[in-house]
């Protein structure tokens, strides 16, 4: 009896050893593969990086000469414009859903709540090219904005709106109910309560949502591929065509075959995304530090 039992324990331990070895292996493999991809682009792109790379614009044509100055400008415009459309709308909608509709028994309000939850859940899984399609048909052609920063930022706003609404809702829901009760019990109106108590404590969460949106715009390519036009010149108005850094990587790689320049631009993008992630971590660390004390 005893030896066989020990034998079974040994066998079970052996199984465990195999399984754990596989987990270690996949952990290492996952890291290695992903680091290889990003590392390759950054390492091969890095030698191209110099001050002039950031300060000169692409020369155009098939050579791929020049830097990325105009694409930095276009990216910045696009991020600002998109957030200017999406942030107030998304955060406003989030406030309405959590602070007003959520506290109501009104049939219309609850239906509204359910519809928007369904809508944002559905849209969260919709491929971005569909927003490109929508933006192209509505803003570029039907509304005659053409391939422009305006069309692209409107399409981009539609893309990130569900994300912004969602994160805003979550940030607001995380505010303890006791804060609202205390404020209302002192004779504050709903809006005073929201402005003076709820929004300040939800600020880190709302900020995280906005930074997430910025990251999304920085890395999105498909939507802007079909709405922004791709001109390498520095945009001069909201109706100018342009290309973001991510789009620039695509054009350099696919049209001019300037791989070194494409990788240099890619490296810049990767670094930007790292910065965005660090910002989110910093904000959420402040968030948890605030709630702990």
């Amino acid at each position: 009896m005893k030896p066989s039992r020990n034998g079974r324990v040994t066998a079970r331990k052996a199984w465990q050893g195999c399984a754990f070895a596989l987990f270690w292996l996949s952990g290492i493999a996952a890291m290695a593969v992903m680091l290889a991809v990003v590392g390759y682009v950054v390492v091969r792109g890095a030698p191209e990086l110099s001050l002039s790379f950031f300060t000169t614009s692409p020369r155009g044509g098939l050579s791929g000469d020049g830097g990325i100055a105009s694409t930095i400008v276009a990216t910045a415009y696009l991020v600002v414009m998109t957030m200017a459309f999406a942030a107030p709308l998304g955060i406003g909608a989030g406030i309405y859903l959590v602070e007003y509709a959520g506290n109501s028994r009104n049939r219309i309000a609850t239906t509204f709540l359910k519809l928007s939850r369904f809508g944002s859940e559905t849209l969260a899984g919709v491929p971005s090219i569909i927003f490109g399609l929508f933006g192209y048909a509505l803003f570029v052609t039907a509304m005659h904005f053409g391939f422009s920063l305006l069309s692209a930022s409107l399409a981009g706003a539609c893309l990130i709106l569900p994300v912004v609404v969602r994160t805003a809702e979550e940030a607001l829901k995380a505010v303890p109910e006791g804060y609202r009760e205390a404020s209302l019990s002192l004779g504050a109106t709903r809006w005073e309560t929201i402005r003076k108590v709820v929004l300040p404590s939800a600020l880190p969460g709302l900020t995280t949502g906005i930074i997430l949106g910025v990251g999304r715009i920085l890395s999105e390519t498909a939507v802007f591929y079909v709405t922004l036009g791709g001109s390498y010149r520095t945009p001069t108005s909201v109706l100018s065509s342009g290309r973001t850094m991510a789009l620039h990587v695509y054009y350099l790689a696919m049209e001019t075959r300037a791989f070194e320049k494409a990788m240099a631009t890619g490296a810049v993008l990767v670094i930007l995304i790292i910065i965005v992630n660090l910002a989110i971590n910093a904000v959420s660390r402040r968030l948890s530090a605030g709630s702990r004390s």
């Binding site: 506290n103 009760e181 205390a182 209302l184 019990s185 002192l186 004779g187 109106t189 404590s201």
Partner: protein
């Protein structure tokens, strides 16, 4: 009881959460400048009843009420809710200071109601903190975050915050249940000193506390599945020594609940 003016009065008052009737036909007169304790087993409707006096139940979707609630003889459902809550302050079970400085917590109410002058605010804050017996502990450090205070200090801060809008009535929902015995004692002492100027209604789970601090006691209970019955209301001494209703006696002597 006959010689004091009722400050709060309910008459034939019912409250429903959707179709669930949480308060049944409650009629009560709460005298001014006194402490009234509401006692009873969990879930019998004490908090719901307390929240009726400043219409906080309206924040819960699906709540409907019938009957009357009067403050100084005026129907509170006709009054402006903001004005009502200014007159009827509330202290909650868990201390809930805003994540702001001590000063900003206490001055929150006056600011909302239109006081802008820094000097006036400072004197309101000082007076309220003194009344809440917290001044000596925090006077040099009013810019400190309220969240850095101890639980008992936080609760006294919440009391100061409620006092700062100069209410007539203060509602307290188990204000000491989250606190240790020493902090509880301080809150009880504080209530004694406040009752000279305010009408206090307190919900408590703790019968010793009710007996120690209150002048009047209301006993509520759940009857079978039916919550929200006011069984008996009277002077605390009488309720605890010669209750009129046998259910009150059973509860007080610990036979159920």
């Amino acid at each position: 009881m006959a010689d004091t003016v009722p400050r709060l009065r309910t008459a034939g008052y019912n409250l429903y959460y959707g179709s669930f009737r949480a308060l049944r036909d409650i009629t009560i007169d709460i005298p001014e400048n006194s402490i009234t304790a509401i006692i009873g087993p969990s879930g019998c409707g004490k908090s719901t009843f307390l929240r009726s006096f400043n219409r906080m139940n309206e924040l819960i979707p699906g709540v409907t009420v019938t009957g009357k609630v009067l403050l100084d003889g005026e129907d509170i459902f006709r009054a402006d809710v903001v004005a009502l809550r200014r007159k009827v302050g509330m202290v909650f079970q868990r201390p809930n200071p805003f994540p702001k400085s001590i000063f900003d917590n206490v001055s929150y109410g006056p600011r909302i109601h239109g006081t802008r002058d820094r000097g006036v605010l400072a004197s309101i804050v000082e007076r309220s903190l003194r009344d809440a017996a917290l001044w000596d502990e925090v006077k040099d450090d009013q810019q400190k975050s309220a969240l850095a205070l101890s639980g008992g200090q936080q609760q006294r801060l919440c009391i100061a915050r409620a006092l700062a809008v100069e209410p007539e009535v203060i509602l307290m929902d188990e204000p000491a249940s989250a606190l240790d015995p020493v902090a509880t004692m301080r809150i009880e002492e504080l209530m004694q000193s406040l009752k000279q100027r305010y009408t206090i209604v307190i919900v408590t789970h703790n019968m010793q506390q009710a007996a120690r601090v209150s002048d009047f006691t209301a006993f509520m209970m759940t009857d079978g599945f039916r919550a929200g019955n006011l069984v008996e209301f009277g002077a605390t001494k009488q309720i605890f020594t010669t209750p009129a209703d046998s259910r009150t006696e059973d509860y007080i002597s610990g036979r159920f609940g």
